[in-house]
């Protein structure tokens, strides 16, 4: 039995979140029902946010929870609900395709794991160094100023921030969301506007009115004409 004081709780929570993330990712592949897939994806991405917190990237972890889990996945769940007709909730995959994907996935995983274990420097356990909160330097870097210690050792003492990529991504997100709203709008039949309704209603009514006016006018005209005569 391991003595309780010897346990590294950081590692314990890492393995907890890692098992949750990997298990739910595999469950996304294995599940047939698209609603269950969405649920497993939420759990997997949430556990990944926990891994980010454990790695000291608290701002990225918070953004993962807010944007990914709170925004993107809610969008996906809405898509699932909008298209959840009975035949599409679970579309079966052919068993041959499953076997083929399993073989290809295993080969890809073998290559990735081999490369992950190939660098001895990465395999060494962490030195337990102290870091500082990354939210403030990250926010300053997004505004174009680097205040972290990496900028001190850079040639010239100055490293450029991320102002230009930040602006590009902002405008990109705006344009993309406007475009998505335009693409996904409901294409209902165009209802004619009130003035068009009036225009289309006009001919019979105006013809009748003109006819009446014409009759009266002609009668009056005839009267006048008669009076003039």
């Amino acid at each position: 039995m391991i003595p309780l004081a010897a346990i590294d709780w950081h590692s314990v929570f890492f393995f907890l979140f890692a098992a949750l993330a990997c298990g739910c990712a595999v469950a996304v592949v294995a599940a047939e029902n698209v609603v269950r897939m969405a649920l497993y994806l939420v759990l997997s991405l949430g556990a990944t946010a926990g891994l980010f917190f454990l790695a000291g990237a608290e701002f990225v972890g918070a953004m993962q929870l807010m944007i990914y889990v709170g925004g993107t996945l809610v969008l996906l769940v809405f898509g699932v609900m909008l298209t959840a007709q009975a035949p599409f909730v679970s579309i079966k995959t052919a068993p041959g395709d499953r076997v083929l994907a399993g073989v290809i996935g295993a080969a890809l995983l073998a290559v990735l794991l081999q490369s992950a274990f190939s660098v001895p420097e990465w395999r060494k356990p962490a030195a337990g160094r102290d870091g500082e909160p990354a939210a403030t330097p990250l926010g300053m870097a997004l505004l174009g100023t680097r205040v972290d210690e990496a900028s001190a050792g850079a040639p010239g003492g100055v490293r450029s921030g991320y102002l230009l990529p930040f602006e590009i991504v902002s405008v990109h997100l705006l344009v993309v969301l406007v475009g998505a709203a335009y693409l996904a709008r409901a294409k209902r039949r165009r209802t004619p506007r009130a003035i068009e309704v009036a225009a289309s209603m006009e001919p019979p009514a105006t013809v009748a009115a003109h006819a009446a006016v014409g009759r009266e006018g002609s009668r009056g005209g005839s009267v006048l004409a008669g009076g003039a005569r």
Binding site: A6, D8, H10, S11, V12, F15, C22, A25, V26, V28, V29, V34, M37, S44, L45, T48, L51, F52, A55, G56, A57, Q64, I67, Y68, T72, L75, L76, F78, T83, F88, I91, K92, T93, R98, G102, I104, G105, L109, L112, A116, F117, E121, W122, R123, P125, A126, R129, G131, A134, L138, A141, L142, E149, H172, L173, V176, L177, A180, L183, A184
Partner: protein
């Protein structure tokens, strides 16, 4: 606890984690995403696979960026890795919005979300 498993489990639970642990998690997420993209016939399942792939890449970026996970004398990517991870999250949100709009359009026109039926351009 089994006596044969005990040393391995003890070493896993008492040693601090390194970059490789995160890389293994990222590799599994990436592989699951690729398999999901290949296997699923529902267009939304393919989108979920894309999210998993981007997330696996993000795990690697954050792992290399973290100063806590580096060994003695190792140099971390620093702030750059976290900034790239943020950009990846934002672009994934944009990509999901557009892909979902296209999927809904396809569903309105074809009354299905099966990607195998999207063969209008097939010669």
């Amino acid at each position: 606890m089994q006596p044969s498993l005990s040393p391995l489990v003890a070493s896993l639970l008492t040693e601090p984690v390194g970059v490789t642990h995160y890389l293994v998690v990222g590799a599994i997420l990436f592989t699951a995403g690729v398999a999901c993209m290949a296997v699923k016939r529902n267009a939304l399942g393919v989108l979920m696979g894309i999210e998993l792939v981007l997330n696996g890449a993000n795990v690697n970026f954050v792992a290399f960026a973290s100063p806590y996970l580096q060994a003695e004398g190792g140099k971390s990517l620093g702030l750059d890795g976290q900034a790239i991870a943020l950009f990846v999250i934002l672009l994934a949100a944009a990509e999901a919005a557009v892909a979902l709009a296209i999927t809904l359009n396809f569903y309105n026109n074809h009354a299905t979300v099966d990607v195998d039926r999207a063969d209008d351009l097939k010669g």
